[in-house]
């Protein structure tokens, strides 16, 4: 399992926590950070498509 994919998924989960906390505490930087984490988490799998990789499991 590629560690980049694990990182992407963890970023998506972190995004949920950050956005939810951001709105619960009315802290704008928190939900912005969450949105950024979700964007980054989504970008990783798409960008990896164009990067040569080894030992990919998802055939």
């Amino acid at each position: 399992m590629n560690r980049w994919m694990i990182l992407a998924f963890l970023l998506m989960l972190a995004a949920f926590v950050l956005i939810t906390m951001g709105f619960a505490w009315s802290t704008e930087p928190l939900w912005w950070a969450g949105l950024a984490a979700l964007a980054l988490g989504g970008l990783i799998p798409a960008v990896r498509r164009f990067i040569p990789k080894h030992g990919e499991n998802e055939s």
Binding site: M1, M5, I6, A8, F9, M12, L13, A15, F16, I19, T20, G22, F23, A24, W31, W32, G34, L35, L38, A39, G41, G42, L43, P45, A46, R48, R49, N57, E58, S59
Partner: protein, 548 residues
Amino acid sequence: MQGNLPIDLFHWILAFIPLLALLILLIVARWKASEAGPVGMFTAWIIALFFFRTSFNNVAVASAKGIWDAIFILYVVWPALLLYQVTDNAGAFDSLRVGIRKFSRNRLFLVLAFGWVFASFLQGISGFGTPIAVTAPLLLAIGVKPIYAVVVPLIGHAWANMFGTLAVGWLATLQVVNLGNPTETAFQTAILLWIPNIVSGFTIAWLFARGKGIAKAWPMILIVSLIHGGGQLLMILVDPILSTFIPGTVALAALYPLSRWKRYREPGGLESGIMSETRESGGGEEEPEERPVMGLFMSLLPFIVLAVAAVIGSGIPPIEQALSRLEIGFAYPATETGYGLRNDPERPYSPFGPLTHPGTYLLISTAVAWIVFRAKGFYRKTSERKEGQKGIWSGLVSNAVPASISVTAFLVMSKVMDDSGQTQELALGISAVAPPLVFAFFSNWIGNLGAFMTSSNTASNILFAPLQQIVASTEQGLSESTMIAAQSTGGAIGNAIAPANVVLGLSTIRHLGNTARVLRITLVYAGLAAVITGGVTILLNGITFLGG
């Protein structure tokens, strides 16, 4: 809710772009779901931000809700995959395959029994993708090719989505629309749901061996469909909550007498394109097979525990009420787009009841299976036979993570489209240009679209049932009951083509990356079922008006 959303071709095309992007990337460009999903998500974001007057604040709220929706599904994906690993590493699937041959050696019967009858039974009690996650590995174990091990339950369980999971879809529909005649609506829904049911039986037989498959399977298909569809129709009048569960259980029980019928007990001798071994043995000499590590009952233990846990947890009202008291959820503020589309505050949004969720039942069955299999020494015996077998945890992570990324991205995309007005744009656009009869034909396609986006009949109805009701009340010649019934049936059919469901099934048998191949087959089924449903909707609508 609708606000000042502009209903025009330009905005309609824009709203369609995220779905189109997803379909093109998955089916034409053959991207993996974990790569295409985020692109669909970004497309929905961009269109919401720049063309549907949605602020970043609104996008953030919708995205968090989407991830929360995904967690519902991931709580089935991870436990289902864990159950697969725990069961497979103990050698249970090999034992099941050998043991089941004593029950019936007719492969067509077994494919229909697992992929249609057992999957429908599971949908009656648990849902949330459990029927696909559980039956795909079972079909693989009896020799079905991986793609078809996912295709068959996707098709087989779809009809049961509306009144399955103890009628959660129906209960949600009653929450969002105030129906003039709920009994008539439920009855018409049951009539329409019979279509995807019988079409699924014949489609599976067709996939198995084309016309020869149908020639062999038609008596079984008619008997099972009479129990499923006819039983549901009758049960609707008694109690909609149990209208899928009871016929599903009766059909499961009917498998035993069917398996005693020579037609389905002995090998059919059919050549099948969906089986790993194309040719079926004729019942003569068979290759000697290594003695399995466990018996048939033991290999079925995890699934028996699963069914018992689900029936106790969700099927006995006092227990269900006690367990469902524990709920987890988070609050989100109200949002409003520049077009005045308002989303109410959520306190909490879609609360999650962990003790009544199928993921918990899967975890219980996994734990019981692991303890029993370990105590009996099955892991040791299997590892001695199978060299280089992956460990339980590494197998789990390597399959669950890509599936989790795609499911999360799909659900975020869906929620952003919903909260920004793109979903409403699509539905209202169709209703704006379609005359009543054309709308009646396409009303189930709207339900289909909702389920395609959300992987949920319930969510599809929450999204689109109010729209169907509005159109029925404003357009002359449309019956409210028939339009809601068509919406509900479309929502059920759409589960066969929902990318998140496809990924869920493929992940549990460790064949991620074949989403496009599965979708190409299930899209044909969904299209056929939707066309027939559309035609019958027009008929039902006419009868309702003549009678009313």
